[in-house]
Symmetry: C2
Subunit: 201 residues, 2 copies
């Protein structure tokens, strides 16, 4: 599809409205009619693009993850030092959360409300995201900078969980006074000292 | 209420059935009637104890958190070394997840599906749980064993997020081959090396 065709514009507009409405009303509270109204289209039009509310949420997630991958691409370009790459990875993720609080709310909270998403969707983009993070760690291990005894996929998953929890805290408003940049910086300090080999300390 | 009275037995039976049904059908898929049937009580009886399905879920969470606190109490009794205490904390949490996979599924997945829980419930028991974890870290800092520059509440939150993510992976079945004990051990190694002061390394 030509990305500038009116058809893809409408799809994008629906997705943007869905993001807004899900963040405001929650996934279960949101009605397709609310999304249609916000997007300025008829209810039935939405079903031309998405089969269900679950599918809307999953598409939204995929658009977000695409943004994440583009941002990571940009941020990591030219950086070869594994510690520097890990820091950049975390910074890019945090920046996206801060720049898109609605999207962040959808990803950290609403997404888990979709039964279909949690239990059936194999989530290839998220798997790719974790693989990317694990590759940075693995690379540091190959270069002898990071300890080899900690499996890279486990470290990647744990690091993502820690980042996601800080983001959830920030997004839910309970960590209102939380400075997410600083928090991510401390997490980076903690993880990097935890990862480096003795000769590097 | 006398904990051995038939009344509290019925309440407990309803909670146990709710845990099972939520894990099987998901929070939104579960009907109060399913829970009543499993518990062998009339639908209306459930409303004598709980005002809504949300309230059932929150009560379930509170019972679980009580179990967590009792287990932590037992595990930490007599341990004074901060590194040892942190390891024990993580071990106790993982053991509870493994021993109560239904409860773990409810906590890690279904709980986030309750709008009310995520947005309105101030969650005092979870706050207490995090405070307990932060106190271990703070204690290590006071003793000069852990680095003081990393704020204990941030580290506690990050560590919980990492543990929770590994638990979610295990519970969702996608990490079927994941050895949760080993994974938590690696996470402990990572975090402890990350936390210790230079003189302790």
């Amino acid at each position: 599809m030509n990305p500038h065709s009116p058809k893809s514009d409408k799809r994008l507009r629906i997705l943007e409205s869905a993001e807004k409405v899900f963040a405001q009303k929650g996934f279960f509270g949101a009605k397709v009619a609310d999304i249609a109204e916000d997007a300025g289209v008829a209810d039935g039009t939405i079903y031309l693009y998405f089969r269900s509310k679950d599918e809307l949420l999953i598409s939204l997630f995929e658009v977000q993850m695409e943004r994440v991958h583009e941002e990571l691409e940009r941020e990591l370009a030219g950086a070869s030092d594994p510690e520097d790459r890990l820091r950049r990875f975390m910074r890019a993720y945090v920046r996206l959360i801060q720049q898109n609080p609605h999207a962040a709310e959808v990803i950290t909270i609403e997404l888990r409300q979709s039964e279909k998403f949690m239990k059936q969707y194999s989530n290839p983009r998220f798997a790719e995201f974790l693989k990317r993070l694990a590759a940075i760690i693995d690379d540091g291990q190959q270069q002898g900078r990071f300890r080899k005894e900690l499996p890279a996929p486990i470290v990647a998953r744990a690091l993502f969980g820690a980042l996601d929890e800080l983001a959830l805290w920030w997004v839910s408003g309970r960590g209102e006074k939380l400075d997410l940049d600083k928090a991510a910086g401390w997490l980076g300090d903690l993880m990097l000292q935890g990862l480096v080999t003795k000769s590097d300390r």
